[in-house]
């Protein structure tokens, strides 16, 4: 049962239905990619899984290793291992990166447990080095004054430090130049393994050259309309999204 299962999920934003019965299973150890045109509901899916208060779930379920997480607060979901790399990471003025990640790790410890500072910093520095993030970033406020690429790298750094069970990467490639894309992808790839299930959301096939998915799904109008292997991404890149709209809804994409 080690998987994140999304079952016939329906959700509204401001009274408008965006997800219309979406089903998907992300197994541990696998990387799934969701591609789709703008407005297909990709970002909504990530926010709904993470529990953003603006999104109202009207049907279906999200099961983490067999248990529904829809009734949980966003932070409870996170502590159970759901990580969302934001498309637009927030700035938190006055809170340093090091303190922020530390607070997030501390929140995962039991009552009375304290994070060991030396170990924490050793790990933090190692992860930062591999993501080519300068050490000075530990003392900078979270995302404040960061370039687009720095923000995305910082998201992956947080992911590397928090070691989630399931990670959703929402358009992590947007706004990145090719060099930054390579660094970010390398970071993600280094975290791949039997203990991580990942969902990579992207508009472009380009990212999937660097983070190779096991499965590719196409999303349109709030549903998965087509699923396949990595080759589907190339097909989309070549043909665009228009032809997809004529396809019948993929039956039982789960």
């Amino acid at each position: 049962m080690s998987s994140l299962i999304i079952k016939d999920l329906r959700a509204n934003v401001a009274g408008q239905e965006i997800l219309r019965g979406l089903s998907l299973e992300i197994e541990k150890g696998k990387v799934h990619a969701i591609m789709g045109p703008n407005g297909s509901g990709k970002s909504t899916l990530s926010k709904v899984i993470a529990g953003h208060p603006d999104y109202e779930v009207t049907g279906g379920d999200v099961l983490l290793d067999g248990e529904s997480i829809l009734g949980l607060e966003p932070d409870e979901r996170a502590r159970r291992g759901v990580f969302l790399a934001f498309q637009y990471p927030m700035e938190i003025p006055g809170v340093t990166n090091a303190n922020f990640i530390r607070a997030a790790l501390q929140a995962r410890l039991g009552e009375g447990e304290e994070l060991e500072a030396t170990e924490y910093y050793a790990k933090l520095y190692a992860r930062m080095d591999s993501l080519e993030i300068p050490r000075s970033f530990t003392a900078r406020s979270v995302n404040e004054g960061f370039s687009g690429g720095e923000k995305k790298r910082n998201e992956i750094l947080q992911m590397a430090m928090l070691e989630p069970q399931y990670a959703i990467l929402d358009e992590t490639d947007s706004g990145l130049d090719i060099d930054a894309l390579k660094v970010v992808s390398r970071g993600v790839n280094s975290l791949r393994g039997p203990n991580l299930g990942a969902l990579v959301i992207t508009h472009y096939q380009r990212l999937l050259n660097y983070i190779q998915p096991d499965c590719v799904h196409v999303m349109a109008s709030g549903r998965i309309v087509k699923s396949g292997g990595p080759e589907l991404a190339f097909e989309l890149e070549a043909k665009g999204y228009d032809w997809i709209k004529d396809e019948p809804v993929a039956a039982g994409a789960v």
Binding site: G51, D75, R77
Partner: protein, 470 residues
């Protein structure tokens, strides 16, 4: 002379303890009349000029109306007749540890206040023995010729310095509460730093805790002679468990030519306290005065630290943080009076209103005519946590003459919902996320606090934020 001073402190204190063995003799009773004032002066064995000063102040206090035409109407709730104006050393009302409310005990626990201090802070013990720490400081500064003692001692032992500046920075009639303090003051510190002496250790009121220091009407006078430097810290982040409902201190600082004074206050009053404090500094040529002021708790705090920039190129600064929770009104601010050319002043104020708390900023910047090259910069930022939270900003700026520049900026904001979601996605609870945000909001100011204060302050903000969400 320095060593003598140190010894004097000890001798005097024990002498004081022995000479008034019966408790009623320390107590001026309830209410305020000229008899109360005479009594205080007599018990303290003060010279006539101080008694006359007190009596004149009493007249001023009585003749002044409550400043409710601009300040909170809540001031009218103060019952001057129900207040005890003088309790000598050792006469804090005591209670047993069992009587201390659980939430206060828990807070001590969470803040990591040492056992011994907890009992004092909770009013269980009248004295706090900090001699071990204090004697080191005394020795260190004593060797440099620094005078550091209680204000009563100061006025008796060093009248030649004391008299010259006492009541000169803040005249008795400055406001109703400075007059009240002038009539009944006891406790507080007197510090004199000789020319050129740079005091390395911060002088802390905290290390010489006793009833007078933590009294209701303390009076502090600090004189930094030419080219000297001193840092003074008062208060602590632990909540004060008070029975007295009125605290009205007067603090006067004098920075002579080229001297530097930093005065740091962190206060966390209990919910029933009116904290009405007058603080002002006189900065002579090229002197620098910096007030760092952090106000938490109390029912109503009114405090506007000021600097009169009297000499050329003098510099004044006020950095303040106010945290207003349910039922609290932090009415704080700063006054900068430019009285010489090329003087500069800087004010940064950050306030946080939680629940139905209210934070008010009042500022005064005055640049009279015929001055050149004066500059003031003021920034006020208010953070509102809950829908019922309230904030006000009332600056008053007067500038005469080209050649001076003054800037005031203020903003009001709330913690953004998206920011909170982002942090919760990383596993922080809503409360933790909110605390982190608020700590971030004040971070650039807190960084200027001494280390131990800033750590305590962060913990305190975490505590205050609890219950503000959900």
């Amino acid at each position: 002379m320095s060593m003598e001073t140190v010894n004097d402190i000890d001798i005097d204190r024990s002498a004081g303890d022995f000479s008034y063995p019966e408790s009623h003799k320390y107590d001026a009773g309830y209410g305020l009349t000229s008899e109360t004032v005479n009594y205080i002066s007599k018990v303290k064995g003060e010279p006539d000029w101080i008694r006359d000063f007190r009596l004149r102040a009493l007249d001023t206090f009585e003749s002044r109306p409550m400043p409710t035409h601009w300040a909170s109407e809540d001031l009218n709730a103060i019952k001057f007749d129900d207040i005890r104006y003088y309790l000598a050393n050792g006469q804090r009302p005591t209670r047993s540890w069992d009587e201390v409310p659980e939430d206060v005990k828990r807070t001590f626990e969470r803040l990591g206040i040492p056992e011994q201090e907890r009992k004092f802070l909770a009013g269980v013990e009248a004295q706090f023995d900090s001699e071990a720490v204090y004697s080191n400081i005394k020795k260190a500064v004593g060797d440099q010729g620094v005078i550091f003692m209680g204000s009563t001692e100061g006025l008796m032992k060093h009248p030649e310095i004391f008299k010259k500046w006492f009541g000169k920075v803040i005249p008795t009639g400055d406001n109703k509460f400075s007059a009240l303090n002038s009539a009944v003051f006891s406790g507080g510190s007197f510090i004199y730093v000789p020319p050129g002496v740079k005091v390395k250790h911060p002088l802390q009121a905290y290390f010489r805790i006793n009833a007078e220091n933590f009294g209701q009407f303390e009076r502090t006078l600090i004189i930094a002679d030419e080219g000297s430097e001193v840092m003074y810290m008062e208060g602590c982040t632990a909540p004060r468990f008070e029975t007295a409902t009125l605290h009205s201190a007067v603090v006067e600082l004098v920075a002579l030519k080229g001297a530097k004074i930093q005065y740091i206050t962190v206060q966390n009053w209990s919910q029933n306290v009116f904290n009405l404090v007058t603080k002002r500094a006189l900065a002579h040529e090229e002197a620098e005065v910096k007030w760092i002021d952090c106000n938490i708790g109390s029912r109503l705090t009114m405090k506007y630290p000021g600097v009169v920039l009297k000499g050329r190129k003098a510099r004044g600064e006020v950095l303040s943080i106010a945290l207003a929770n349910n039922g609290q009104h932090q009415d704080t601010g700063a006054k900068m009076v430019h009285a010489a050319d090329e003087t500069t002043s800087n004010v940064i104020s950050k306030s946080i209103s939680i629940g139905r708390g209210r934070a008010t900023y009042r500022g005064l910047v005055h640049v009279p005519k015929h001055l050149k090259g004066c500059k003031n910069n003021t920034e006020c930022d208010a953070l509102l946590i809950n829908p019922e939270s309230r904030t006000d900003t009332y600056p008053a700026i007067t500038v005469r003459g080209a050649g001076n520049s003054v800037q005031h900026e203020a903003s009001v904001s709330q913690v953004s919902a998206e920011q909170i979601f982002y942090m919760r996605q990383r596993g922080l609870t809503e409360g933790q996320a909110m605390s982190l945000s608020v700590n971030g909001f004040v971070n650039d100011l807190v960084r200027q606090f001494p280390m131990e204060y800033s750590v305590e302050l962060k913990r305190l903000i975490d505590l205050e934020m609890e219950g503000s969400v959900g």
